[in-house]
């Protein structure tokens, strides 16, 4: 509980929107009215990343999911199938195990360990991009920390957030983690090869996701068997090509 509230009412730090009292200034202090987004520092770094990606023609995707949804397996399969210039930023709290898996595909990879941090932020990603110097034009995959809560709030400068949900998880996750499904442009339903063995209603999952985000696109695939991968390749190729074309036009 916050014990620092100045209003002198129980639970007053949670008081509602409209004020019926003045915030009186003590002697020697003054009040400053400002309108400033609390996330504006992260958003400024994200803007800088986005500008850099646009200038260079780097199509960046921010991949978010729960731990264990198969993000890294999907990424390995994607890189092997895509045949476009690609680079990867790997976010994990600890270890470089995922980066090692990506490195074996032969593409450049930069590991970020967030330590106790539960998400990547735009500042970390900016430094990782400097170190990585991804080939341009190309695709940059940013694999976020496995967490469906915190990464929703932190813009990294990506072109799209892609949320990955596997059929071994609950079909109601879009409702439970609404912020993330609201922020994403594409939902990938992974591990569809396991559908005969699990109680997961794909139609209901999509309906829940569209309650949160009516415009969200949906792809169903299995990173292990390769089923549905071609539609995902097409999704990336089409958007990456349009992104690079816009970048080149802007550059004259």
């Amino acid at each position: 509980m916050c014990t620092y509230c100045g209003c002198g009412q129980p639970d007053a730090h949670l008081h509602h929107h409209s004020h019926d009292h003045e915030h009186g200034a003590d002697e020697g202090s003054r009040h400053i009215k400002i309108e400033m987004d609390i996330l504006s520092r992260n958003n400024a770094f994200a803007r800088a990343n986005r500008d850099y990606f646009a200038q260079q023609g780097i199509f960046a995707l921010n991949l978010v999911s729960s731990p264990g949804s198969g993000k890294t397996t999907l990424l390995v399969r994607t890189i092997e199938t895509l045949r476009l210039s690609a680079a990867v930023i790997e976010g994990d709290q600890q270890t470089s195990l995922d980066a090692e898996r990506i490195r074996q595909t032969g593409v450049p990879v930069q590991q970020i360990n967030t330590g106790k941090g539960c998400h990547l932020d735009a500042h970390m990603v900016g430094h990782a991009v400097e170190a990585l110097a991804p080939a341009a034009p190309g695709v940059l995959f940013i694999e976020n920390v496995g967490n469906l809560v915190c990464p929703a709030a932190f813009d990294l400068g990506e072109a799209h957030k892609v949320v990955i949900l596997s059929v071994t998880e609950g079909e109601d996750k879009p409702l439970k983690y609404a912020d993330m499904f609201h922020a994403a442009d594409l939902m990938i339903i992974n591990k569809i090869d396991l559908l005969p063995h699990v109680d997961f209603n794909v139609g209901r999952c999509i309906e829940y996701a569209r309650r949160i985000n009516p415009d969200i696109e949906v792809l169903q695939l299995s990173a292990t068997t390769g089923d549905g991968i071609e539609a995902w390749m097409e999704w990336i190729r089409t958007r990456a090509a349009a992104f690079v074309e816009t970048a080149q036009k802007a550059a004259g």
Partner: protein
């Protein structure tokens, strides 16, 4: 617990403002947190105290105003207060909503010395 990193960013903003606006210490601040934002007010209060340590905002009173979620139905255009992102239109039952308010994460006012 992204509230802690949100607070770290908030304290950095206050440090910046101290230079720009020429003050030494923040005694109190008023922030607006939308009900549909990703921030839990209690967790924000808890994190702020530790994030503010050894900064211009050490010991500052953090006052949180909650902005209600406001939605407009994309089907029947009814406006209503939305308590959740998956709220249902009370008029026609649709889930297709346009969120008009409640996503705010804003600093509104500072009391400084």
């Amino acid at each position: 617990m992204h509230e802690l990193s949100v607070c770290t960013g908030l304290v950095e903003l206050l440090e910046e403002q101290a230079e720009v606006q020429g003050f030494n210490r923040v005694k109190a601040l008023w922030v607006e947190i939308g009900q549909l934002s990703c921030i839990e007010p209690e967790a924000l209060c808890f994190s702020f105290e530790s994030a503010a340590r050894d900064s211009v905002a050490e010991g500052a009173a953090l006052n949180i105003e909650q902005a209600p979620g406001q939605a407009e139905c994309l089907e029947c255009r009814a406006s209503f207060e939305a308590l959740e992102r998956y709220a249902q239109c009370p008029e026609c039952g649709s889930f297709r909503l346009n969120i008009l308010g409640g996503e705010e994460l804003r600093i509104k006012e500072l009391e400084v010395i």
